[in-house]
Structures are given as structure tokens and as C-alpha cells.
């Protein structure tokens, strides 16, 4: 060491030389640069070929992107997503509580529900609800084994394609949501409920004020995923013509045969909606992340813009140290 580097007089030979006075040469990753350039070139090539491909018919995409028919379909897709998620979450929470119950009957019923609705394909369930009238022609509500009837209607008039779609998506979602909610409830330290009980809080109040708010932290990220999935799964209900976005897109290309451009229209809208959905998710995560040190500092806007801003933020924070 001595002789090869110039050691300042104030330090002894055994001390490390202060880094500030010597130039630091970072490792140069040539392979990384080559890979980056190659993949950017490939991407540019792909986009270029798509843009120049006449079969894509960008004019058709433009014509239909903001068409009334598309907006009608979007509205159905949106309310169907929201309603099915609400139904799924409400029923799912109920089933989760049943599965945690000490009553073997409630536990068994909840298990059976999850078994059936998670164990059969969603597409089958959608078609099933769409054709439920073939199973029961009339819906009757009354006292069993008597002639007393409070309510009676034809199944077809009650179970419109939209309602059938809602039931199929909502019940299927409930099976998955119940597992997520159950995991969330079980993730809360039992000491929390004990502390609440020792303060004289009754079981229902403890669940509502202490356990569920903490379970939300675990529940929200997967439920966000479920919502995004749901938005896309609504496309399946086109098989029973529920007039969602995908149904209407299919109606159009059944007539003008412009399949690819219409699918581009659909994809653009689904992408846009999914992007928007990540904003409320981030907001909810911050809301229920209160009191935990990790959560609470990433704004929804930042989240929307994704990794780049976050990485910049992290760098600047590290520099501040």
C-alpha cells in the first residue's frame, strides 16, 4: 500500500485513505447497456410495424373509440363491476365470519358455498344464470308445502341478462372475497380483541372498531386485484349478451368484420379503466395504513405514475440522509 497511493500526512499508513480525495470508478456494466439498447430497438420496431400495418385500421379505431354504443357498454361494465364487487364483498364478509364461527352448521354451509362457487368455471356459472329459466320457470316466495304465496313472477322477467350477469359475477366473487377477508381477520393479533374485550367492548363492536379496520390493511391489496380482475371478467358476460363493453364490441364486429380494430378499442378502454382503479386503491391503502410506519407517504398521483417517481423519491430521500 505504501508508495503506491499518496497518503495525506495527517493519516497513518494503516488508516484507509479518505475517499473524498480519490476518484471512485463505478463498475461499468457493458452487457446491461447492450441489452437495454437491443430491447428498446425491438420495442420501437414492434410499435413501428403496428403503426404501419394497414390491417389494424387506425381509422376504424378512431371512429369507434368514442362512439355512443361504446359508452353505453362502458357504463354497463362499470356498474356491473361495482355492483358485483359490492355483492361479493358483503356476502364474502358474511361467509368469512361464518367460516370463523364455532357453529359446525354455519362453518359447513360456508365451506360448501366456497367449494361450489370456486370449484366451477366462472363461464359455466354465467351461462347457468343466463339460462336459469330453463331450470325454474317461475320464481315463487311463500310458505313451503302450502298454497300461500307472497310473490310470484316469471324467471325470465326477473333474471334479465344484466341481473344474471350480476348474480354470476357477485356470487363467484363472494367465494374468493371470503377467503381474503378471512385471512385478513386472522392476521389481526388476538391480543387486540382481548384488549377490546377487557375494556368492556362487546363482540360486534370489537369486530367493527378494532379487528376489521386492522384487517383492512391485509384485505385491500388483494381486493384491489380482485376489482381489476372483475373489471376484465365482465367481458365474459358477453356470452349472455348483457350489453357490457365487450358485448357491444362483438355486436359491431359481427356486422363490419373489423375484429382487430374493435379489439383495440376494447383494450384501450379496459387499460384506461384499470389504470384509473389503482388510484382509489392507493388511497384506501393509505387510509387503513394509519399507524404503520411503512404506509402513508406515497400519494395516489405518485402511485399512478408508477415506479419512476417512486424511485426518484427514494433516491432523493437517501441523498437527504
Amino acid at each position: 500500500m505504501a508508495g503506491t497511493t499518496k497518503v495525506p500526512q495527517s493519516t497513518t499508513a494503516t488508516d484507509r485513505p479518505p475517499t473524498g480525495e480519490l476518484e471512485i470508478v463505478p463498475v461499468r456494466n457493458y452487457a446491461r447497456w447492450i441489452a437495454a439498447v437491443a430491447s428498446v430497438l425491438a420495442l420501437v420496431g414492434l410499435i413501428g410495424s403496428l403503426a404501419k400495418n394497414d390491417n389494424l385500421h387506425w381509422d376504424v379505431v378512431g371512429d369507434y373509440l368514442f362512439a355512443d354504443l361504446i359508452f353505453d357498454g362502458l357504463a354497463t361494465t362499470l356498474w356491473l363491476t361495482a355492483a358485483a364487487m359490492l355483492l361479493g364483498l358483503a356476502l364474502g364478509t358474511l361467509i368469512a365470519v361464518m367460516r370463523l364461527s364455532s357453529s359446525p352448521v354455519l362453518y359447513g354451509l360456508a365451506n360448501a358455498f366456497v367449494w361450489v362457487f370456486r370449484g366451477t368455471p366462472l363461464l359455466v356459472q354465467i351461462i347457468f344464470w343466463g339460462y336459469a329459466a330453463a331450470l325454474y320457470k317461475y320464481v315463487k316466495i311463500g310458505v313451503p308445502f302450502t298454497d300461500i304465496t307472497f310473490f310470484q313472477a316469471e324467471t325470465n322477467s326477473l333474471l334479465t341478462p344484466a341481473i344474471a350477469a350480476l348474480l354470476a359475477l357477485g356470487l363467484n366473487e363472494a367465494a374468493y372475497a371470503s377467503e381474503i377477508v378471512r385471512a385478513g381477520i386472522q392476521s389481526v393479533d388476538p391480543g387486540q380483541a382481548e384488549a377490546a374485550h377487557s375494556l368492556g367492548m362487546r363482540p360486534a363492536l370489537t369486530m367493527r372498531r378494532i379487528v376489521l379496520p386492522q384487517a383492512m390493511r391485509v384485505i385491500i391489496p388483494p381486493m384491489g386485484n380482485e376489482t381489476i380482475n372483475m373489471l376484465k371478467m365482465t367481458a365474459l358476460v358477453s356470452v349472455i349478451s348483457a350489453h357490457d363493453l365487450m358485448s357491444n364490441i362483438q355486436d359491431v364486429y359481427a356486422q363490419n368484420y373489423q375484429v382487430i380494430p374493435m379489439l383495440v378499442v376494447a383494450s384501450l378502454w379496459y387499460l384506461a379503466l384499470v389504470t384509473l382503479l389503482s388510484v382509489p386503491q392507493a388511497w384506501l391503502e393509505r387510509r387503513y395504513g394509519r399507524g404503520t410506519t411503512r404506509a402513508g407517504h406515497v400519494s395516489p398521483l405518485r402511485r399512478l405514475l408508477g415506479g419512476t417517481v417512486e424511485r426518484l423519491g427514494k433516491n432523493s430521500k437517501e441523498q437527504n440522509r
Partner: protein
């Protein structure tokens, strides 16, 4: 003559085939501090949890302020209480846990306010004022807006004490309140408990702090393997025990 605050007669408890409490007899008079000591697994925490019915008593009689815990006696039958009735009786028994168990999604003040507002029906304004006074009392007047994760263990435990006091309990239960704390933080928590005892609060304390038991306790109870081995004046039990098991235990912890 007034009824004792806690009276246990032959209290039994088992988890499956394991008998954890094998007939505990114990009396805690009003205004007294009773310290439960003993090796881990001796049943002292289980007994403490029986007092506010976090654990169900399987046999014997356990009363708090003259009322049976968890049961209602009619004739010669004991009827198990409904959960809401149990909850109502717990309102005036405060409990402090080894792991604090503060509600992490609420600030210190909100933790203290929760039960008075939601259980006792106190107005938010009154509850907030009382909560601030209680936090002052435990030396955390300036920490009210902090979340538990932003407080040290000792501070969290003092918030937990304030939270238990907010329901104006007639009895306070402490389950190894300083066992999860760094040594230098133990003193602050013990100071608060010392002050509480001086103010006349009836307390049952499961602890390994022999010094605290000797200084503050009115009775010391040494338990081992589900039975009370020795009980009495802590200055005798903890200094010159009669039983060999107590002596062996003390020689290990001191």
C-alpha cells in the same frame, strides 16, 4: 365489613387434559396491591385472565366485588353469562397486557377515548379532555397525537395504563407489564403503577419485579404448578420464605 374486591375459592381451570389451576384460594381486599409471582407455567397469568373472564373458570368460585365472574347463580345452578353480559361486567375491571395491545390504527388519545365513547357513551369532547388528563398523569401529555408505532415500549405501556384507567375501573389487572420492555424503560412504568397504588387503586399484578412487589405490594402470592405455594406479607414471603420452592425460585431470580 365490606366484601373483598377479589375472592377466589378453589378456582380450577384446565386446557384440555392439562390442569393449569388446581384450586386457587386468594383474597384481595379493597385498595390492596396483590403481586403474583412464580415460574412461567405456574398458572399466574391464567388466574389473572380468569378474573375478567378472558379465560373461563371451570370449577370453584371466583367473585369480583361480590359478583360471580362469568356466571349467574340461581338456586343451586350456575348459568353461564351471555357475551354481552360478560362485556358489561368487564367495564370496571382494567387490564394491562405484557405486549401492550394498543390499537395500532388509533393515536394515543384515540386509544384512551375509544372505550369511554363507544362503551360508556361519554361525549367525544369530555372523553378527549379526560384522555389528555390521563396521558398527563402517566407523563405523556405531549404524545397524545402519536400512533403506537411512534412510541417506545415504555411509552406504549403507559398509554395502555391510561387506556385502562379511562373506564374508571375499581380493579386493575397487570399481566407482566414490564416483561417486554428494555431494562431502562421499566422504571417509568413502575413509577406510574407505584403512584396508582398510592392513590388507593386495587391492583393484581403478575410480575417478575421482586423489588416492586416487596416495596409496593400489600400481599405477595407465590404460585407454582397451579397452586398457591405461599402467600402473605411480601417483606416476609420474598425475604424469608417458609417454603423450599419459594426459596429456590427466589434464589434463581435474585
Amino acid at each position: 365489613m365490606s366484601t373483598p374486591m377479589v375472592r377466589a375459592e378453589g378456582v380450577r381451570k384446565h386446557f384440555g387434559s392439562l390442569e393449569v389451576l388446581k384450586g386457587i384460594d386468594l383474597t384481595v381486599e379493597r385498595g390492596q396491591v396483590c403481586c403474583l409471582l412464580g415460574p412461567s407455567g405456574s398458572g399466574k397469568s391464567t388466574f389473572l385472565r380468569c378474573i375478567n373472564h378472558l379465560e373461563r373458570v371451570d370449577g370453584g368460585r371466583l367473585t369480583v366485588d361480590g359478583e360471580l365472574v362469568g356466571y349467574r347463580q340461581q338456586g343451586d345452578k350456575l348459568y353461564e353469562l351471555r357475551e354481552r353480559e360478560v362485556a358489561d361486567r368487564r367495564r370496571d375491571i382494567g387490564m394491562v397486557f405484557q405486549r401492550f395491545n394498543l390499537f395500532p390504527h388509533m393515536t394515543a388519545v384515540e386509544n384512551v377515548m375509544e372505550a369511554p365513547v363507544k362503551v360508556a357513551g361519554v361525549s367525544r369532547a369530555d372523553a378527549r379532555e379526560h384522555a389528555h388528563a390521563l396521558l398527563d398523569q402517566v407523563g405523556l401529555g405531549d404524545r397524545g397525537h402519536h400512533y403506537p408505532a411512534e412510541l417506545s415500549g415504555g411509552q406504549q405501556q403507559r398509554v395502555a395504563i391510561a387506556r385502562a384507567l379511562a373506564m374508571k375501573p375499581k380493579l386493575m389487572l397487570f399481566d407482566e407489564p414490564t416483561s417486554a420492555l428494555d431494562p431502562e424503560l421499566v422504571g417509568d412504568v413502575l413509577d406510574v403503577m407505584r403512584q396508582l397504588a398510592a392513590d388507593g387503586m386495587t391492583m393484581v399484578v403478575v410480575t417478575h419485579e421482586i423489588g416492586f412487589a416487596r416495596e409496593v405490594g400489600d400481599t405477595a402470592v407465590f404460585m407454582d404448578e397451579g397452586v398457591v405455594v405461599e402467600a402473605g406479607d411480601p417483606r416476609r414471603v420474598l425475604v424469608d420464605p417458609e417454603q423450599e420452592r419459594t426459596r429456590a425460585f427466589l434464589s434463581k431470580v435474585l
